[in-house]
C-alpha cells in the first residue's frame, strides 16, 4: 500500500505473519498481549533502545554545537542573525523530506538520521541558551563586577547558572521533538520505534501499531518528566523561593 524507500521497502513485511500465532493475532484484534510477550525481546525492546540511543546522540551533539554557538554570539552579536537564519531554515524542512534529501549525501546510514535530528535541535537549543545568558539582570552583572569577578568568572559563576532554567526548557523541547522525529527516521534505517510502526502500518496490524506507538509516546513523556526533575535539582534557588 505504501511505497516506501529505504529498508522498509527493501526487507518487506517481516511481522506480522497473520498465518501463525494465536487466534488474536490471526484475527488482528486491537491488542494481543501474547504477541507483545513473544516479540518484546526480539523487536520492541531493541527498537526502544535504538530510539533512546538515536535521541541521546542527536541531543548531545546538538547541545554541544548550540552551547558553543551561544557562548560565541553572547559576546559577538554579529554572528547571531546568520546563525538563527540558518537554524530556522533547517527547522522548516519537513522531516520526511530532509531524511530523503540527505540520503544521496550520506547514504542509508545512522549518520543521515543524526545529521537531520541534530539540525532540528539547533534552533530550539541555541535560542534558549542565548536567551538564558541574556536574561541575567543588569544589576546582577553590576554586582558581580563590583565584587571583582573577571569576565570568565562572571560567565561560569553568574551567567551560566542563571541560564539553567531557559536552557532546560529548551532541552525539554529538543528532547521531546527529537523523540518524535526519530520515529520518522525509520524511512532511512531499520532502527527506532518508527520501524515497527511503519511495518505494522503496511499491514494495519493493530497490536504492533498500538504498542510501538504507545512506547514512543511513553518514552517522550518519561523523558520530559526526567528533565523537569533534573531542572529542579540544578536550580536549588528556585525551589527555595517556591517554598516561601
Amino acid at each position: 500500500m505504501i511505497p516506501l524507500g529505504g529498508p522498509v521497502a527493501a526487507q518487506g513485511p517481516v511481522i506480522p505473519d497473520f498465518g501463525k500465532g494465536s487466534d488474536c493475532v490471526v484475527e488482528n484484534r486491537l491488542f494481543c498481549p501474547d504477541w507483545v510477550r513473544d516479540n518484546w525481546a526480539g523487536t520492541l525492546q531493541p527498537a526502544l533502545l535504538d530510539h533512546v540511543k538515536l535521541t541521546l546522540i542527536a541531543v548531545a551533539i546538538g547541545f554541544v554545537l548550540s552551547f558553543g554557538a551561544a557562548l560565541l554570539t553572547h559576546r559577538l552579536r554579529l554572528f547571531e542573525k546568520p546563525l538563527v537564519a540558518f537554524a530556522a531554515i533547517v527547522y522548516t524542512i519537513p522531516s520526511l523530506a530532509l531524511f530523503q534529501l540527505l540520503v544521496p549525501v550520506t547514504g542509508l546510514t545512522v549518520a543521515t538520521v543524526e545529521v537531520a535530528l541534530v539540525g532540528y535541535t539547533l534552533l530550539i537549543l541555541y535560542r534558549n541558551i542565548l536567551e538564558g545568558l541574556r536574561s541575567v539582570p543588569p544589576d546582577v552583572l553590576e554586582a558581580a563586577r563590583g565584587m571583582g569577578l573577571t569576565r570568565g568568572q562572571t560567565l561560569w559563576r553568574i551567567e551560566l547558572p542563571l541560564a539553567v532554567p531557559a536552557t532546560m526548557a529548551g532541552l525539554r523541547v529538543a528532547v521531546v521533538s527529537t523523540i518524535a522525529l526519530a520515529t520518522v527516521a525509520a524511512l532511512v534505517i531499520p532502527q527506532g520505534l518508527g520501524y515497527p510502526i511503519f511495518l505494522a502500518l503496511r499491514e494495519a496490524f493493530k497490536t504492533e501499531i498500538l504498542v510501538a506507538g504507545a512506547l514512543a509516546v511513553g518514552l517522550a513523556l518519561v523523558a520530559d518528566a526526567l528533565l523537569v526533575v533534573a531542572e529542579r535539582a540544578l536550580t536549588p534557588w528556585n525551589r527555595a523561593r517556591r517554598v516561601t
Binding site: 519537513p94 534529501l101 544521496p104 536567551e131 532554567p165 521531546v176 520515529t183 510502526i197
Partner: protein
C-alpha cells in the same frame, strides 16, 4: 553546491510540469488539515475560554500543552489507525489530538490574563457572564488566542505530510514515494508543504486582523507582548515555527 542547486531547479520544474498532481495533492492536504483544525477549534476554544474566564484549571491548561508537545505525531497517527483503520478520518482525528493542546493553552492563558479591572468594570456596568466573555474578554484576548491557532495551523499543515504513511493522502504521498516521483518530486512536494504552512499561517494572521475590533488594532501589539511575557517566562517566541519540523 551546484548539485544541490540542480536538485532545487529540478524540483521547481517538477512542480510546474506536474502541476495537476501537485494541485490535487495540495487540495487533499488542505482538506485534511482544514477538517482537523475545524474540529480542534470547536473542541478547544470553548474549553480554553471558559477555563480562562473562571480562572480555573491552570494546571490542566498548562500541562495539556506540555503533554501535547510531547506526543510524537507518527505515533499518534499510528494509534489512530489502530482504532479506526487506514484512511482520512483516522489521520484527521490524530491531527485533532495534536492541534487541541496549543489552542486550549493559549485560549486559557489569554482569557485568564485579561486585566481584572476591565472585567470588574464590565460587571459593574451590569453585563452578564456571557456578555463579559464575548464583549470584553474575547476581544482583549484575541491576539494570544490567535497565536495558539497559528501554532496549531502550522503544526497541522506540516504534520499532515506524515498522513501519507497512513493512507490519509496529501502532499506526503509524493514525499514518501521517491521510487515513483524521484528526488525532484520529493523536494518539490516538500517545498510545497513549507509554502503551504507559511501561507496558512499568513491566512490565519489576516483573519485575526479582520476579527480584531478597530479600537484594539493599535494597542494589540503592546498587549500581546505583555501577556506573553507574564504567561510563559522561559518559552521563547517559537510559536510561529513551532512544529514546522514535523
Amino acid at each position: 553546491m551546484t548539485a544541490s542547486l540542480t536538485v532545487f531547479g529540478d524540483a521547481l520544474e517538477f512542480v510546474v510540469d506536474e502541476r495537476r498532481l501537485i494541485l490535487h495533492k495540495t487540495w487533499e492536504h488542505l482538506l485534511l488539515s482544514g477538517a482537523a483544525l475545524a474540529i480542534a477549534l470547536v473542541i478547544a476554544l470553548p474549553v480554553g475560554v471558559w477555563l480562562g474566564h473562571r480562572h480555573r484549571g491552570s494546571f490542566l491548561a498548562v500541562n495539556v500543552a506540555n503533554l501535547g508537545r510531547a506526543l510524537p505525531s507518527l505515533a499518534v497517527i499510528a494509534v489512530g489507525v489502530a482504532f479506526l483503520g487506514v484512511g482520512f478520518w483516522s489521520v484527521a482525528l490524530a491531527l485533532v489530538v495534536l492541534a487541541v493542546p496549543p489552542i486550549i493553552t493559549n485560549a486559557y492563558v489569554a482569557v485568564d490574563g485579561v486585566q481584572t479591572d476591565a472585567v470588574e468594570a464590565a460587571r459593574g456596568m451590569g453585563m452578564t457572564d456571557r456578555q463579559i466573555i464575548t464583549r470584553v474578554e474575547l476581544p482583549l484576548a484575541l491576539p494570544l488566542i490567535f497565536a495558539g491557532i497559528r501554532t496549531a495551523t502550522v503544526f497541522v499543515v506540516a504534520t499532515a505530510t506524515i498522513a501519507a504513511v497512513a493512507g490519509g493522502g496529501g502532499l506526503g504521498d509524493i514525499i514518501v514515494n521517491q521510487a515513483g516521483y524521484g528526488l525532484e518530486g520529493v523536494v518539490g512536494a516538500a517545498i510545497c508543504v513549507s509554502v503551504l504552512a507559511l501561507a496558512a499561517d499568513g491566512a490565519v494572521g489576516l483573519l485575526q486582523r479582520a476579527l480584531t475590533p478597530a479600537g484594539l488594532r493599535v494597542e494589540s501589539r503592546a498587549f500581546e507582548t505583555d501577556v506573553t511575557i507574564s504567561a510563559s517566562r522561559f518559552r521563547p517566541a517559537m510559536s510561529k515555527v513551532d512544529g514546522l519540523a514535523d
